[in-house]
């Protein structure tokens, strides 16, 4: 096609837009991992003894573990001794008390990413916790949230101001022994967000954390803990970006959600870590453990994720449906283009009676991208009348990419109702020609078809995020047709 050369040129000109580096003085500890490093991190954060003990326990356990090899992903071995486990932008002796004291360069960084933190430009209706490398640099709307009793702050701050809550719930959903990356995170996690919604409170605004990796050779290991007490509701958004770098960087986060009786947590992610270049050089390894526990009766946890970035994605946001009548949902769009790999899906563990779960997974592969859906639905012995609906759709663009589906189903109670649907489709030449014949370019055609394909997931996202997600998808797939 004669438009091919033009398209190629356009792609070359349109890079990963969040790929800039902020030139800021950072306090970085030496690379490598040892008990001393774990102690150093804990000391830098001024942590209580119990937390240091927990870290050390995790570290010692981690030494006995091996990297998982079951995922459908391939990468050279990671040298854990060459990673820097703590890097923080330098600031005065004391942490900034207000935004006025935050380094303007940091505020600029977030502004460039479309996340204004300054008072007058704050995003209406969204409270943001901004995490830069290993530390949280600012949290907006804190006071307003405190008025209704919602605690929203950085993890380090929570350890200081609400140690009883952190101690009670930390590791209660993802134990420190859980898996290789979660255990590593438990040893070296540096910061993250903490959110507590008290009984009967409907959080009046969207809460959001924006993760940014800036420093080179640095891993980001943040930890998020969200607790919704009886009858509480919270909607939480997460966004992530990183600069363009030639080497791979590790991001191993842990997210724990706890929903008590009749509580509801909605967790949405738009993941746009640097995916590497078209030959697969550089990019983030996103090895993340996300799990929610529906502890209470009739509680509900929904995960919605749009995964466009990262060189490799390895994550399975899951729900443990312990309370009777609890509900778990997982809506996912995962895109792999160029040399990206994704092995993602969910686990729905039904323990309580009448528990219900819904899984809608949409995988899009282009270029040499490899996209794997891996899901487990487990109906326990006591889970009377549990129900699951799973739908896994794959869309292929071109002949060099791949889509794989591994649904695991374990049913130990015969009253369970399970439904599984799967489809694989390919954007055909004849479809693209139909669009072109009506005046629509092939690129726009792909984006319209893809957006149509993802509609069911996008409608689960909060409005602003849905628009953002659509745009991101367009950029991620640019150049996937010639």
């Amino acid at each position: 096609m004669s438009s091919q050369s033009l398209t190629a040129q356009e792609i070359a000109e349109r890079e990963y837009r969040a790929g800039f580096v902020t030139d800021i003085e950072a306090e970085t500890i030496p690379a490598g991992l040892s008990e001393d490093i774990v102690r150093l991190i804990s000391q830098k954060k001024g942590e209580p003894e119990w937390l240091l003990e927990w870290r050390l326990k995790s570290y010692r356990h981690w030494l006995t573990m091996k990297e998982p090899t079951w995922a459908n992903i391939h990468h050279p071995p990671i040298d854990y001794q060459s990673i820097v486990y703590y890097s923080a932008p330098k600031q005065g002796k004391n942490a900034p008390k207000s935004l006025d004291e935050v380094d303007p360069k940091l505020l600029e960084t977030y502004e460039k990413l479309g996340i204004p933190l300054r008072e007058r430009e704050k995003l209406a209706g969204v409270a943001v916790d901004a995490v830069f490398d290993s530390v949280s640099v600012a949290t907006t709307f804190k006071e307003k949230l405190e008025e209704v009793g919602v605690i929203f702050c950085s993890f380090s701050e929570a350890v200081k101001s609400h140690p009883e809550l952190v101690r009670k719930w930390l590791g209660s959903v993802v134990p420190y022994t859980d898996n290789f990356y979660a255990t590593l995170n438990s040893a070296v996690f540096s910061d993250g967000s903490f959110c507590y919604v008290p009984k009967g409170v409907r959080c009046p605004m969207e809460l959001s954390t924006y993760f940014r990796i800036n420093a080179a050779n640095t891993g980001q290991f943040e930890r998020t803990l969200i607790i919704a007490e009886e009858g509480a509701y919270v909607s939480y958004l997460e966004g992530c970006t990183a600069p363009i770098r030639d080497e791979n960087q590790l991001h191993a986060a842990v997210v724990e959600l706890i929903a008590l009786d009749n509580a509801q947590i909605k967790y949405s992610t738009v993941q746009n870590w640097y995916p590497g270049d078209k030959d697969g050089k550089g990019g983030i390894y996103n090895f993340v453990t996300k799990r929610g526990k529906c502890l209470g009766h009739a509680s509900k946890i929904s995960w919605t994720q749009v995964e466009t970035g990262s060189a490799i994605t390895w994550k399975y946001p899951s729900c443990i449906l312990q309370g009777d009548d609890s509900v778990g949902e997982f809506y996912s769009v995962a895109v792999t283009n160029n040399r990206q790999q994704a092995d993602t899906g969910t686990k729905m563990i039904h323990i309580g009676k009448n528990t219900r779960s819904t899984i809608v997974s949409k995988g899009i592969s282009a270029g040499h991208g490899q996209n794997t859906y891996r899901g487990l639905v487990r109906i326990g012995k006591a889970a009377e009348s549990a129900r699951n609906y799973s739908q896994c759709d794959s869309l292929l663009l071109g002949d060099l990419c791949g889509a794989h589906t591994f649904p695991y189903i374990e049913v130990l109670n015969s009253s369970a109702q399970m439904e599984h649907e799967a489809s694989t489709s390919k954007i055909g030449e004849d479809q693209l020609f139909y669009f072109q014949q009506r005046g629509i370019s092939a690129e726009d055609a792909v984006s319209m078809i893809v957006n149509g394909f993802c509609k069911e997931v996008f409608k689960e996202l909060p409005m602003e995020f849905a628009v953002e997600a659509q745009k991101l998808l367009g950029v991620s797939l640019e150049g996937s047709v010639g």
Binding site: M1, S2, S3, S425, G428, E429, D430, Q431, F433, Y434, F435, Q436, Q437, R438, G439, I440, S441, A442, D444, M448, I449, N451, G452, F453, K455
Partner: protein, 253 residues
């Protein structure tokens, strides 16, 4: 408006069109008739720019420009419309959304402002009447689950919205019962205008009872072997294509 000279086209190395000449002026309606495999659809697709057809000789000029040098979307934006014989289904993309994107791409190309949602819906309402298309159909994904007749109606409906200068209708009558044919033909007739040219590609004379052409051409073995007015179509109806076939076949040997 459209000037085709000595057009030779191959598909996978096999020559399908073997020297087609055709001249179409604004306001005219031309019918291209011929038996299966004579190259009618190939001609329609080459005009629209479908990939997979290799032009080995000849030229196609549209409004004085080299049509073959333009990518398909540019041809569409310049006013070339193809009503497909087999319109594809596009799951997940609604007909209205699709058409709005198409119309605005064309308007943008013409230097016109994009139509907003309100104006666009008014246009949809007006044109839906033309081919008696159910408005529910307009909101469904493009062609998905449409019957054969609904798909054909949808093509003419799209044509009415996009307002092309040159419309090529590829076997628009195939798969239509007589009532549906009348509706579709009625729609096409209303779209006839002194500014617009139409090329009807058809196997049967039936369509031409309802859309009366100014010129009829017989395409046989990749060449136009005879041209005339609407009377030629009637003659073909009664005599078939055999009487024209002999010299063409002989010529080939």
């Amino acid at each position: 408006m459209l000037e085709i000279k000595n057009l030779h086209v191959s598909v996978n190395g096999r020559e399908i069109l073997r020297g087609v000449d055709l001249s179409v002026k604004a306001g005219e309606v031309h019918a291209i008739m011929g038996p299966n495999g004579s190259g009618k659809s190939t001609l329609a697709h080459v005009i629209a720019g479908r990939p997979g057809y290799e032009v080995t000789a000849g030229s196609v000029r549209y409004e004085g420009r080299d049509l073959l040098a333009m990518p398909p979307e540019e041809r569409a934006r310049e006013g070339v419309f193809l009503a497909f014989q087999y319109p594809v289904e596009i799951p997940g993309v609604s007909n209205v959304y699709f058409l709005k994107a198409a119309l605005n791409a064309i308007r943008k190309h013409r230097g016109q402002s994009e139509l907003d949602a309100m104006d666009f819906l008014a246009l949809v309402k007006e044109k839906a009447k033309l081919v008696d298309i159910d408005e529910a159909l307009v909101r469904r994904p493009v062609n998905e689950g449409f019957s054969g007749g609904e798909k054909k109606r949808n093509e003419i409906f799209q044509m009415a919205i996009l307002d092309p200068r040159l419309a090529v209708l590829d076997e628009t009558d195939s798969g239509l019962d007589i009532d549906a044919l009348k509706v579709v033909a009625g729609g096409v007739n209303q779209l006839r205008s002194p500014q617009r040219a139409m090329v009807l590609v058809t196997h049967y004379q039936r369509l031409l009872d309802y859309i009366v052409p100014d010129f009829v051409h017989v395409l046989l073995d990749g060449r136009i072997v005879k041209s005339g007015d609407k009377e030629l179509a009637r003659e073909l109806e009664s005599r078939g294509y055999e009487w024209l076939e002999a010299p063409a076949a002989a010529d080939r040997r």
